[in-house]
Symmetry: C2
Subunit: 375 residues, 2 copies
């Protein structure tokens, strides 16, 4: 049982779609699937912008979202408060961009006023793009993308968003918020296995693309856009993953966007209530937890993960880099139902009892989670 | 029924492996799978060099095979005689390499002496790398990689090979021939769906990597090598495709490399004999046909493909670019057995009869193929 922030659980009918025999990617049948999937991706992304599919993991999608719109030496503001945000600074640096940063400590949300100040100070408009991680997977903190995006829009820089663990789990209204480039990956909210990356591109971002000089070929989004206009792809697509995506998007449409977002919120609240009731410490401060993932501070993080895996066959994620051994993370995005949350909490209680925790009443975690879930 | 040069047919047990529920990619279980798969990939590639897996299509693998080893302005010799070879010149140009070329017309093999002359003329050793397409998918022509690689080795440039439709179908003894970088894709000889690319890297290529300055992050092979040393990956891998790869490699080991190569040779000869017996013209000259794919010249190429699809549900590939409507291509690589060849030939005969061809004795194609197959 996977309770990590990707790969996430995959529904049975999506697995069956994955197992279908591949078809030719230059066939009329495949073009129809591409047309269907693209229309549903636009629905999911709440946008009329291009939504392009690449055969890459989430990092590849973010790299494509960066290198297509800038030239060497262009200044970008990278806003980061965790491992993945730091990675986008590394990518931008690797491609010779001039990186300036607004940061917050790991586990804390970005202060939107700090971003606003940095943008206000940029009177020459040297900053060409702002790169923000919406839901920081490494810490379970969600950033206030709506506020930040308003300030970026007022400044005029391109707004580039890592929505890898937020898309399909949290409201990311691309058109309403004016997000120029939004990147995500298949093994998260999309409920399918890893192997596909998604990048949305606004007309303003296409204007930047026209003059951008960073070298690119496989990740050249212009090629994908040309292909998409004819319901095809520039390079051989992972046809089986696209079968799976088609099936998953049909399920998501049946559930409805609003219901999906409410479900993820409910699971976050239930998880957080349970963690507190079990006497454990939440890593993300109240009001800034990601609906996709709940991080828990514990010096016993690795023992807890080990018992959860061995005794209950539930996989939780550990901390990354400096947080290794200091936190564990419960993924609750994608194909997760109320029962899964109760199951994880119940197993976590039993694990704590096994490890000799006495600072809570056994059953209190499940009771707290249930109270949220039955509301 | 897929008879195109990728995606190729996928065995049932590989499809079932694909449909398994994903597991965490940072788990001990997954590391074991990585170790197993990597060992079998080295067997398949006949090499002790690193064999790295990337979440990309074949073009991505080739791009990784080029950009990791050069700096802007470095001279590379691109040897090409078809669409895919031309693409590597485009990639190298996109990354500001100084591209020189040795070419042959589409449908003709590269003359190895032309490559040798170009290398001999390079007395200052300005050419840092030579990029060769082994089996040119667009034309069904195979190039004399063994001879070319000897001359490249004598010169000292890096030998970079597009083995996308040859790896797993044709003998590519990487260590014996001293091939520095060899790139391929999952949906060809590997018998699994598209979505994984493979790149092998020799110690000499790693030396070049150390000083190469082209920008890279997602495709930085050093990151993949570091990961592979610990049986992991730098970015989330397509775990389901790797399950499928594991199953496919076990099948390939059971068949044996020599048997696999002999089977592909037999299918090429059977296809070519049948095409000739049906009064159609082979596009690749005798002795230069690819064991992976047989191209046939015909002004009726599109009608033939259409009847084959509609009447017999067999998908053949068409011509690309200037060859559109002038050739069709029969893919016979990967999971293809003698029965498949007979089936395709029999259906092609029936198609020709339907289209009013009279220049051959119905049955002659199947008879000619059978004669090769029963040898």
């Amino acid at each position: 049982m996977l309770m990590i922030p990707g790969p996430t659980p995959v529904p049975e009918n999506v697995l069956l779609a994955l197992a279908k025999h591949p078809i030719g990617h230059r066939s009329g049948e495949f073009s129809q699937i591409m047309a269907d999937v693209t229309a549903n991706l636009k629905w999911l992304h709440q946008t009329t912008n291009d939504v392009l599919m690449l055969t890459v993991s989430g990092t590849g999608a973010m790299e494509a979202g960066i290198i297509n719109f800038f030239s060497p030496g262009d200044r970008v503001l990278v806003v980061h408060n965790g491992k993945f945000g730091e990675r986008w600074a590394e990518v931008a640096t690797a491609f010779a961009l001039d990186v300036v940063e607004v940061t917050a400590p790991w586990g804390q949300p970005i202060d939107p006023t700090a971003v606003k100040s940095a943008l206000n100070a940029d009177t020459t408009k040297a900053i060409k793009g702002v790169i923000v991680t919406h839901s920081e997977t490494s810490t379970g903190v969600i950033n206030d993308l709506e506020t930040i995006s308003k300030d970026v829009k007022a400044h005029g820089a391109l707004m580039i968003v890592d929505a890898v663990t937020s898309l399909g789990a949290v409201n990311v209204p691309i058109d309403a918020w004016g997000l120029d480039v939004v990147c995500s990956g298949s093994q998260k909210g999309f409920m399918i296995p890893p192997g596909l990356g998604f990048v949305t591109v606004s007309p303003k971002a296409w204007d930047a693309y026209q003059v951008a000089k960073l070298p690119r070929y496989y990740m050249d989004l212009g090629k994908y856009s040309k292909g998409a206009a004819k319901n095809t792809t520039p390079f051989t697509p992972p046809v089986n993953l696209i079968f799976a995506l088609q099936a998953a998007l049909i399920m998501m449409k049946a559930e409805g966007l609003e219901n999906i977002f409410v479900r993820h919120q409910r699971h976050m609240h239930a998880s957080r209530a349970a963690i507190t009731a079990m006497g454990l410490a939440l890593y993300a401060p109240e009001g800034h937890g990601s609906p996709a993932i709940t991080a828990v501070s514990s010096v016993e993080a690795e023992q807890i993960r080990s018992v959860m895996k061995k005794k209950f066959d539930i996989v939780l994620a550990g901390g990354q880099d400096d947080l290794k051994g200091k936190i564990f993370r419960i993924g609750h995005l994608g194909f997760v139902c109320d029962r899964d949350i109760l199951t994880a909490v119940a197993a976590l209680e039993a694990t704590l009892v096994e490890l000799g925790h006495t600072g809570f009443t056994p059953g209190a975690g499940v009771a707290a989670a249930a109270q949220v879930l039955i509301k």
